[in-house]
Subunit: 163 residues, 2 copies
């Protein structure tokens, strides 16, 4: 492929990637939830509206250790965004739920995402959108491959020498 095109698209992706968090945080600061950081908002987002996932589930999805999540939940509970709900049938597990305020923050963040994705896809027809989705799928697949390779360890990356 053309080197120039690669450079240009790479540069744009890097720029977009770098700016998203910054801008999400700035938007956040303007609204009624100025006591939330972007990371806290992402935790709220991972908890989701009504699923009452367990702590373990959320920490795995977020790729952080259980201890990290505990600390994050402590803060969000103190600020009134999240509630811990102890499971009746197995008292070891904690289920996480958003308070009314938490759901409100969730919706605000979601509407930002909606606007962002809408503008990403603005002006394309169904076929073109599915082409773009295919490119995104390519990217995710690439990341998943790398992820599995990393899990197996570097020595077995290609060719499965073990056994």
């Amino acid at each position: 492929m053309d080197k120039e095109i690669y450079e240009r698209i790479n540069e744009k992706l890097v720029r977009g990637y770098r700016d998203i968090s910054n801008i999400e945080e700035k938007e956040l600061r303007k609204g009624p939830f100025h006591d939330l950081s972007i990371k806290e908002l992402h935790t709220i987002n991972a908890i989701t509206m009504y699923h009452h996932k367990t702590s373990s589930q959320v920490s795995q999805e977020m790729r952080v250790t259980p201890g990290t999540l505990t600390a994050a939940i402590n803060n969000l509970a103190r600020k009134g965004y999240v509630q811990r709900l102890r499971e009746k049938t197995d008292r070891r597990v904690i289920r996480l739920g958003l308070t009314r305020k938490g759901r409100s923050a969730y919706r605000l963040h979601d509407s930002f995402h909606r606007k962002m994705v809408m503008s990403f896809l603005d002006g394309f027809n169904k076929d073109e959108i599915s082409l773009i989705e295919h490119a995104v799928d390519n990217l995710i697949e690439f990341l998943e491959d790398k992820n599995h390779a990393a899990k197996q360890g570097p020595s077995e990356r290609d060719g499965m020498q073990s056994c």
Copy 2:
């Protein structure tokens, strides 16, 4: 637009976004530069191969405060990836350069990016690629709009009521 399509693409973008840093870091740990974090690598990337940008330039591009960059450069210099070069004509300014080792790390990271972008665009022809690029442009434009709106302050977002 179709709500279902939005949900699906949003979910994929969020997942991709979340995984990129994790996987870049994992890849990094496998190679010869295991003493670098992903943030440090991004600093090296912002310094670029041969431009000798000033500290201010780099900190602005990275959207961090000058103090943050100083700390990062201290670490990278200690580890032998970056050199400070004092400007002859204006002794206040520091220009930043990569050492041989720093350039080597830069290249490794760049090759990861290259593979990632290549897989993103895999299987598309020129026209299709320029369509995808257009979508990325849309996204960047959205972010820039939001960024300017944020700079002006929330009260003047739309309609320039001042004066």
